[in-house]
């Protein structure tokens, strides 16, 4: 009887251990199948040689000779043609500016949401998410009209003489011309990605213990100092999470540059499109993609390291 119970608990425990493995293993399996594997395929294509419309095998075995053929000419080409370098660089710049503007608009937005009456907060949260109910394509396309020569946003900007400012900064091609410019591109991306900045920031700021601000004021800090010395440092995790959520997809963004950016704004997403669909050069396209992933992985790694640190802090 006793041994039966013992074996029962043993098998039960084994089941739990197995259950835990399944729970932990599922996301890893998911990432393996849908992220790592496709990436390896893309990596393989990037070093493959074209044989007409097919790829030559990277690894061949014939007559007792195993041959690994890796064609790095695409990578070499990327470093030599400065169009790619420029495109990567401008993609990063556009993504960084978008992140900056999202933070600039999103932080006060999230802050006031988090400090609003608890009764109002769900409604405000709803308003942030409301744009997702309309097609993303439609919303971006709408900006085309708003910013075109007789669009009312364009009219307001011209009336306020903001076009002079933008032209001086080289952000628009001419006075009263807003479309197909770095301005329209960053505006469109900021508009689209703003919720991704607001939501993690709101989550972070809403959790903040307001007594810390009282403590800061009690110790002689004005409301402004308390904000800079307490609120901002404590929302660092939210700022980083929001920035990553905006920056990473922005680097590879294709639709918004296509619709709002025009031919002058270089973005890596459009180069990718061209390599795939215009040039039909899959190895080149894959190479561009691999380099882009590496470029994005660096900030992501920094982010993850920070997250791990923050987690350790909380323990």
């Amino acid at each position: 009887m006793k041994s039966a119970m013992k074996s029962a608990t043993k098998s039960l425990r084994a089941m739990f251990t197995r259950g835990r493995t399944v729970v932990i293993g599922t996301p890893y399996a998911w990432l393996l199948v849908f992220f790592l594997l496709p990436f390896l395929i893309v990596l393989k294509i990037s070093v493959s040689e074209m044989d007409g419309v097919r790829f030559k095998d990277v690894l061949t075995f014939a007559d007792g000779l195993m041959q690994l053929t890796l064609k790095f000419s695409n990578y070499v080409f990327i470093t030599q043609d400065d169009l790619y370098f420029k495109t990567y660089w401008s993609s990063l710049i556009y993504a960084a500016s978008t992140t900056f503007f999202c933070l600039l608009i999103g932080y006060p937005f999230a802050y006031f949401m988090a400090r609003a009456k608890p009764r109002l907060q769900p409604a405000l949260l709803m308003l942030v998410m409301l744009p997702f109910w309309t097609s993303f394509l439609l919303r971006v396309y709408a900006w085309k009209g708003l910013l075109s020569e007789n669009g009312w946003v364009a009219d307001v900007l011209t009336f306020l003489r903001i076009d002079h400012l933008l032209l001086a900064g080289g952000l628009i091609p001419a006075l009263d011309r807003y479309m197909n410019s770095p301005f329209s591109l960053v505006l469109g991306m900021t508009y689209t990605y703003l919720p991704f900045m607001i939501l993690p920031l709101y989550g972070n700021l809403a959790k903040m213990d307001l007594r810390l601000l009282e403590a800061a004021q009690d110790l002689g800090a004005t409301a402004f100092t308390a904000f800079w010395k307490v609120t901002v440092p404590l929302s660092k995790a939210g700022i980083i999470a929001g920035s990553m959520l905006v920056f990473i997809p922005c680097v590879g963004e294709f639709v918004i540059p296509e619709l709002l950016g025009g031919p002058q704004t270089l973005m890596i997403g459009r180069v990718l499109w061209d390599e795939f669909f215009s040039n039909n050069d899959w190895p080149m396209a894959s190479t561009v993609a691999v380099v882009m992933i590496v470029l994005i992985l660096v900030p992501l790694a920094i982010f993850n390291r920070y997250q791990a640190q923050a987690q350790e802090l909380r323990r």
Binding site: R211, Q217, L219, G220, T222, V230, L234, L313
Partner: protein
């Protein structure tokens, strides 16, 4: 009847350091949080605001700190009205109930926070923080983050932080509320020693009467936004002014009765189960309704009817309905003839007593003619 209000401990001789004058705080929506409160606090005092939750004590403390502005009334610090002054301009520092330590700063930086706001030079800040850490015996923990400290250590960091700027007044919001019982008792004494060592005037808020009794020099008992009684702990305990205070502080047996005889040196009060001979100087009109409060530890028990000098007064017979053993003392619940229950606490002087009363035993309770407090309010 003027229930002889005993001679109040003389009001602090020095001119009041802080005066709370007729302060009202109305948040709107019915109840008034603080209702016409006036308190004088002397320099160097540890003053406790005692009351159950929602009595307005925390609101009053927050008005002292500057987080709330009084609806009306004045808060005067050494002759200057500070009621409208911003919290960051006040020479007061507060130790928060949950400590409110900045989680992103080290212990050192937490204590230095207020000093930096004053623009103190770096080397002076370091010296001051060192001194504070030494004061609370946390020298080794300067570089730790708050979450790496135990509750007791966090409490000491919070104390060091609130004392670092040498405030004119230290405000404590439930200073020991977050600690467990054993640690709380140790910390009470330590906290008082530190505060007295520094010599800072201190106002604390607590719902724990033991905490208020052990730590404070004077206590204000609050209920529903009003101050019911102000006085040293022993005065509040031994001569409560109202039924509420008598009941709120410690245990008490409240008996309602009427004054039947008024003699020059004593009065006789008749209650449902017994009659009281009250020997200390009170007087009143015969037939008036009064309350008689007797603390459980002032009553003695015996198996046989006691033949005291004031017989047949000041004694009552009952059966032991319940007894709670606390180790150092035992509380007996005596069921009286009217059905009322009389609580009697006996200290357990001997280890084993043969005549120990137990459930169902009949016993006589009796008390001295000075044991009662007669209350009209």
């Amino acid at each position: 009847m003027s229930a002889a209000t005993p001679t109040r401990a003389a009001a602090p001789a020095a001119p009041p350091f802080l005066q709370i004058q007729d302060v009202v705080k109305d948040f709107g929506g019915g109840a008034v949080a603080v209702n016409h409160v006036s308190i004088d606090i002397a320099k160097g005092e540890i003053f406790a605001l005692l009351g159950s939750s929602g009595c307005g004590k925390t609101t009053l403390l927050r008005m002292l700190a500057g987080f709330e502005t009084p609806t009306s009334g004045r808060i005067v610090l050494e002759g200057r009205d500070i009621a409208g002054m911003a919290p960051y301009d006040r020479p007061f520092n507060m130790m928060f109930q949950s400590y409110a330590l900045f989680p992103h700063l080290t212990v050192f930086e937490n204590i230095a926070f207020g000093l930096k706001r004053d623009g103190m030079p770096k080397d002076q800040i370091a010296a001051r923080v060192e001194a504070m850490l030494k004061l609370v015996q946390l020298g080794k923990y300067a570089q730790r983050k708050p979450h790496q400290l135990s509750g007791g250590q966090q409490q000491r960091v919070a104390l060091a932080r609130s004392l670092a700027k040498s405030p004119q007044m230290l405000l404590l919001d439930e200073p020991l509320g977050a600690l467990d019982k054993k640690l709380r008792e140790e910390t009470q004494i330590e906290l008082v020693n530190i505060i007295e060592g520094v010599g800072v005037t201190c106002v604390m808020v607590t719902h724990d009467q033991e905490e208020a009794m052990t730590m404070a020099t004077r206590i204000a008992v609050m209920s529903e936004g009003r101050v019911l009684q102000v006085g040293p702990p022993s005065e509040i305990y031994e001569t409560p002014a109202t039924r509420f205070v008598a009941d709120f502080i410690g245990n008490v047996n409240m008996m309602e009765g009427t004054l039947t005889k008024d003699w020059p040196d004593h009065v006789i009060i008749s209650c449902a189960d017994c009659t009281h001979y009250v020997g200390h100087g009170i007087t009143g009109t015969e037939g008036m309704a009064v309350g008689v409060a007797v603390r459980p530890e002032k009553i003695e028990l015996s198996r046989t009817e006691p033949a005291g000098e004031h017989s047949p007064h000041n004694k009552v017979r009952g059966t032991v309905k319940d007894l709670s053993y606390f180790g150092s003392f035992t509380v007996y619940h005596l069921q009286l003839a009217s059905g009322a229950v009389l609580k009697v606490s006996e200290s357990n002087v001997a280890r084993h007593r043969d005549e120990q009363l137990t459930w169902g035993d009949t016993a006589w309770a009796h008390w001295a003619p000075t044991a009662q407090v007669v209350l009209t309010q």
